[in-house]
Symmetry: C2
Subunit: 534 residues, 2 copies
């Protein structure tokens, strides 16, 4: 048997719609549209399908499993009535006018992470478009969208998504995202999409009804581990690499930021991340457009970003949290929680020189020797930041660096990131010293779940010596407080900071020295810990 | 802090004994000898130690943890009163006379797997020595001992060992094993030791009282997974690589067969298997003796045996069960259980040509596409067999191939293994068609555990369509039935088979063609399935 992974979802084309759903252990799967039932046919690999003439764009549908439960499509492209409602057939037509766009290599990106829901008051894709000239003027050439896969309710960071193929309806859905990407490309801005392939959110997650999407072999911090290597894993693997190709191909997205790949457990002879990279490289060849793959992981293991010839998984790059920790603990003098492993100028010098701070040294916090030196990896494989959604939002009060350090220190932090040999990433608003926090927020409908999240947040901060009350994650006010103020124009300091950021980015772009990516080409002159001069 | 892993155990030298035990989370650890208590001192990494003048070889000792439980040493070298009794200081002196011995590379080995307890009536190391001329005459130049680490009772395959550093007392302990190795080397025979680094047995396992040896992150089929990558893992990792070096250095053992390495879970940037290989290669350099590392694993993942330059873990070789399955299912026409993935001449031809049968094809039994092609690996990295302890002993009745196929087919199986391009391994007694079975046996003292094992064995066979009663694993008779009969002299057919094995081995040794290890140099002419000609 050859492996023909069927594209999953509903595909409208030539006045008919093909419905494909993977449910390998089910005996009977039917499609339900307006109380009418259509039987599906199963193939050898467990894909059920049928082509239905009368189902045009906008058609609402569900599947019935073994004559019992009636559920939305795991590969739904739209959930216009939320995560528990029916799935929708979408219109594949879109007038792209970015045919000249070729993408941007990671090493040339000036990244800007943003959360669609709080970037503007409207919280939509459409409302980002008027801000693009501002970003362009700032010098940013790549925006990174926090996850936009359909999540429960309208307030969520996105990591609780339960329909990896559906674009969050409250943000503007499929059409809204395509319009944003199209306009970004027209203005010379790349779009990187944050995607979550290590878990699904807790509410509206019906995947296990359809098939063995999850496994008990491993544990994750956020729920059941996804089945990448156990019996029936191929349907799951192809579900996720199809998802990657959907963003990169159908939506013209320029790159993916793969959330917490250390929680993608896979002992197959070909790791899922390696397989994903191969599929994406193939797409690059077909389209002639650069597609960037960036991993987030907490392993200090260069294998993920090393070349396949050296046994690596060949990703373009990775986030490097340790740079942040070294920088932040040094300038804030906060040594609580996991910052206990950082805090001296030596740590920051190591972050500048070796990309990882821990390359085999003993970590007090982890209680083990940790990490390997990324000897063969170039500087432009590492994305650095002084703030990001996690490092701000996972503080108890979601307080930004603006609240923690002096105005002059803010400039220092900006320079450390932007003039580093790495790929700099800003977190929305930091460039003008936004004072509104970025807190953790949800809008689940399951009350028990809400209580669990509230409890979990409180426990999460027990490590740190932070004072005060944890904001209610479910509260609408918590969300509203996080919307960017955009008040830089009224505030002189904000305005000056913004100009400073622009100047730094412009220096970076103009300096050839800062574009030298070879590890051997950099010398760090470490003076001493007391004066904190590097 | 630099990592100085202390050698763990008790070391008698210059009329004093140094005691070292790792217990990083304990507040107080004392040594107890003859009701006398000696306090130990703790270092930064959690190693407790003291040097005691009056403790000579034979001294029995235990440790007391935080003034409470009194337990044997996890790195005990001898348990003369069984797994629950005190540990013993051993005499390090031994008159080796194998200084000319340089070891044998894996590719030149003709291996012979044996279980010490049933190889002879006496069931000891000493009783193997008189059989060495027989093995030499057969053509064997490497014996592989099933695990000899101290296990509960006197009847066990060895995979229930709970003192990785102690040599099973009923087999003859430290001295018995050294004498066997010394004599093997004198007669030109290498000794490979089977070691279990993926779990500990269920009875007499006190390790978790001492430290975080185990982790809940992963699951194994045989009990708690060993902590190779979580907090405090360094003490565990060094415990096991020290163990490897003990066998290879102190006992002059020539190689290790690493049991089920797929159950050694480790996401560190340096996998434990990779670290172990580095330690062993260093020992090779220091001693000038070849040390062979062979892994057992069920992943068809060449990474374990590929070169470190290609991102591999660099082991010398591996067992390849799929060769066995392809051969066995073809000649026995047994397609039950996991044999459903095999059974045609095509499968066997694939095993001959590609080393793995599954190099990316769909496996019906595993319900997934499985394996990768070991393109860069040479033939002499794969150990093959038509029988071994698992393939015989994990049949319900422990019935050998002798019981399942005709006399002529036995010869065919022997030729398939011995004239293969791989490293052949015989299972004790197969060379003369031993008719005594090799069943599963234990001698636990914990009654509940015995019941669990009995139940487990019954369940294990539900996949297969085997008839009859499962022999009682705890019964002494079950064990006794497995002792080799050695009756080849009285039986003409046995005698002829033995001669046939000798002749095959001699042909293998004499043929240059069979010593060509390059993958590109072999052609398999597959004729067709119906005639079963390859």
């Amino acid at each position: 048997m050859n492996y023909i992974a069927k594209p999953v979802g509903s595909f409208y084309k030539d006045s008919a719609c093909e419905f494909v759903v993977w449910a390998p252990q089910r005996e009977q799967v039917s499609l339900i549209i307006n109380d009418k039932t259509y039987p599906l046919r199963k193939d050898d690999l467990g894909y059920w399908s049928a082509t239905i003439k009368e189902a045009g764009p906008g058609t609402q549908y569900k599947y019935q499993l073994d004559g019992d439960k009636i559920l939305p499509d795991p590969a739904s492209r739209a959930q216009t009535q939320g995560v528990h409602g029916p799935s929708s057939v979408v219109d594949p037509e879109f007038n792209w006018n970015d045919s000249d766009w070729m993408g941007i290599p990671l090493g040339e990106m000036i990244m800007y992470e943003l959360h669609v829901g709080t970037f503007t008051k409207e919280g939509t894709f459409a409302s980002i478009i008027p801000k693009l000239p501002y970003l362009k003027d700032l010098g940013v050439n790549a925006i990174e969208l926090m996850p936009v896969a359909q999540f429960p309710g309208s307030r969520n960071w996105g990591y609780d998504g339960v329909y990896p193929f559906a674009v969050q309806d409250s943000y503007g859905g499929v059409k809204g995202l395509k319009e944003l990407v199209n306009e970004c490309h027209r203005q010379g801005i790349a779009v990187v999409q944050d995607v979550v392939y290590n878990h699904l959110g807790p509410e509206g997650n019906y995947l296990s009804e359809y098939g063995p999407y999850f496994t008990d072999k491993y544990k994750t911090n956020w729920g059941k581990a996804i089945n990448y290597d156990d019996a029936w894993c191929d349907g799951v693997r192809s579900y996720y690499w199809q998802n990657a190709l959907m963003w990169l191909d159908e939506f013209h997205i320029d790159g993916l930021r793969l959330d917490a790949v250390h929680a993608i457990w896979d002992v197959s002879s070909k790791h899922f991340i390696d397989e994903l990279r191969m599929k994406v490289r193939q797409l690059e060849q077909e389209t002639g457009r650069k597609k960037v793959l960036i991993a987030e992981f907490d392993l200090n293991n260069p294998r993920y970003i090393s070349s396949p010839e050296k046994g690596g998984y060949g990703l373009d790059g990775q986030w490097v949290d340790e740079f942040h920790h070294a920088l932040r603990s040094l300038i804030t003098e906060d040594y609580s929680g996991y910052y206990e492993d950082f805090g001296t100028a030596k740590h920051l010098a190591k972050a500048f020189k070796d990309s990882y701070v821990y390359t085999g040294e003993y970590s007090k916090h982890r209680k083990k020797f940790f990490g390997s030196y990324p000897e063969t990896n170039t500087f432009d494989q590492f994305v650095v930041f002084s703030q990001n959604h996690d490092q701000v939002g996972n503080r108890m009060l979601g307080d930004r660096l603006t609240h923690n350090i002096s105005y002059e220190a803010l400039k220092l932090a900006a320079a450390a990131v932007i003039l580093s040999p790495y790929v700099p990433m800003l977190f929305m608003g930091e460039e003008y010293g936004e004072k509104n926090p970025f807190q953790y927020f949800i809008s689940h409908t399951d009350k028990e779940l809400v209580e669990l999240v509230r409890k979990g947040r409180k426990e999460e901060f027990s490590y740190f010596k932070w004072e005060g009350e944890v904001p209610d994650p479910q509260g609408e006010e918590t969300f509203k407080q996080c919307i960017l103020s955009w008040n830089y124009e009224k505030d002189e300091k904000s305005n000056t900071l913004l100009s400073f950021y622009k100047r730094l980015i412009s220096i970076r772009k103009g300096s050839r020295a800062l574009q030298n990516k070879q590890r051997q080409s950099l010398n760090i002159l470490f003076v001493d810990d007391a004066t904190k001069v590097i």
